[in-house]
């Protein structure tokens, strides 16, 4: 049986199909202006890769910011529960998760069953999120994928005392004009974001194992800084960006099985 999970984030749209407890296919695209169309695009890309139509998918669930706008999903779950379930599937020993998404950051504790025991999110400003890093990349004339690596080439952190997107942007522009190397600017910004994440994590229980999920977990410069602040080596999934969609597909399987068991035998 196949189960589909769709994660419509603020920046990225992700999908996963699982079969026999394996990932059968996954897809990552951009969230467009219309969530419904975006979700259909993710679905259709995965079905095309599988060479199947929707009738083969037993149950579908959605998560993420746009989770209520996925018309073909039977149910939806919060990103927090979905990331916890996905992370637990990869690493049953994970107890602490930092989810770094397009527009917010979350710290989550998860138990040995993959259930959330504590969570905290920083729900207000863009500082330290994917959108913020995109903005900084464009100010510096770099590709988003390259800023993490560039930050690692820094000889000297430029200290930023703000990750407020507006202030950090203008500070980055004036530093560039003064000839400060891009790598130092980026190292400073990554450092400031890592401090912010650490402060968020301190409000939950920082326990081993620790993982980072979301698109920013692919940024090696960021992972290195967070590791430094926490003094803890994160375990990282092959693609941390699909964690929410994976979790949603696992929820789809669980909910479907529960319904089957609850239904009277015919």
């Amino acid at each position: 049986m196949l189960f589909m999970g769709i994660d419509i984030g603020s920046r990225g749209a992700k999908g996963v199909v699982i079969e026999d407890n394996q990932i059968a296919t996954a897809f990552i695209g951009d969230t467009g202006p219309e969530s419904v169309k975006t979700s259909e695009m993710v679905r259709d890309n995965m079905l095309a890769k599988l060479g199947m139509d929707m009738s083969k998918i037993t149950y579908t669930m959605a998560t993420g910011y746009g989770r209520v706008l996925v018309p073909f999903a039977a149910e939806n779950v919060s990103e927090i529960s979905a990331h916890a379930k996905g992370a637990h599937w990869y690493f049953p020993s994970v107890r602490t998760i930092l989810d770094m998404g397009g527009q917010d950051c979350k710290a989550i504790n998860v138990n040995d069953k993959g259930q959330v025991t504590k969570f905290i999110m920083n729900d207000k400003c863009a500082g330290g999120t994917g959108r913020f890093l995109e903005l900084i990349a464009s100010v510096l004339g770099l590709r988003l994928e390259d800023i993490g690596q560039t930050s690692l080439e820094s000889k000297k952190n430029f200290p930023f005392n703000t990750v407020c997107a507006v202030f950090a942007k203008s500070e980055a522009i004036s530093l560039m004009k003064k000839g400060t190397p891009k790598s130092d600017i980026l190292a400073g910004l990554h450092d400031a974001i890592a401090v912010r994440c650490y402060n968020l994590l301190k409000r939950v229980n920082i326990e081993k194992d620790f993982t980072i999920t979301g698109g920013i977990a692919k940024n090696q410069g960021m992972v290195a800084k967070i590791k430094e602040k926490l003094g803890m080596e994160p375990v990282l999934a092959p693609d941390p960006q699909i964690m929410g969609a994976l979790g949603a597909s696992l929820f789809a399987r669980e909910r479907y099985m529960a319904k089957q068991n609850a239904a009277p035998a015919s």
Binding site: V77, S78, S81, Q115, V116, T117, K118, F119, I120, M121, N122, D123, K124, C125, C164, N199, L200, R203, F251
Partner: protein, 91 residues
């Protein structure tokens, strides 16, 4: 589950905390809160619990004045309404 809704910003920590292990879903906080901060709905594991509305979580410090100022003006607050002691504030 200890659910923390809100944010920290330059001026402080603004979180409303619901301990869903203590919460029985009675909904007394929903009617008590003058700012309509809470709702009761099933969580992702099927338990009916109080939660801070999604529309409120991103602006809690503007919707809720903080526990002390609220309790000075309101007879029954979310804390006093809740018999289970499931709700707390960081400010």
């Amino acid at each position: 589950m200890e659910a923390n809704y809100g944010y920290s910003d330059g001026s402080g920590d603004y979180f409303i905390i619901v301990d869903t292990d203590k919460c029985n879903g009675c909904g007394d906080c929903v009617t008590a809160c003058p700012e309509r901060v809470f709702e009761v709905a099933p969580d992702d594991y099927g338990k009916k619990v109080a939660l801070v509305k999604e529309s409120v979580a991103s602006k809690v410090s503007y919707v809720c004045p903080g526990y002390k100022p609220c309790s000075a003006n309101v007879e029954t607050t979310c804390h006093t309404a809740c018999k289970m002691g499931a709700i707390s504030h960081t400010w």
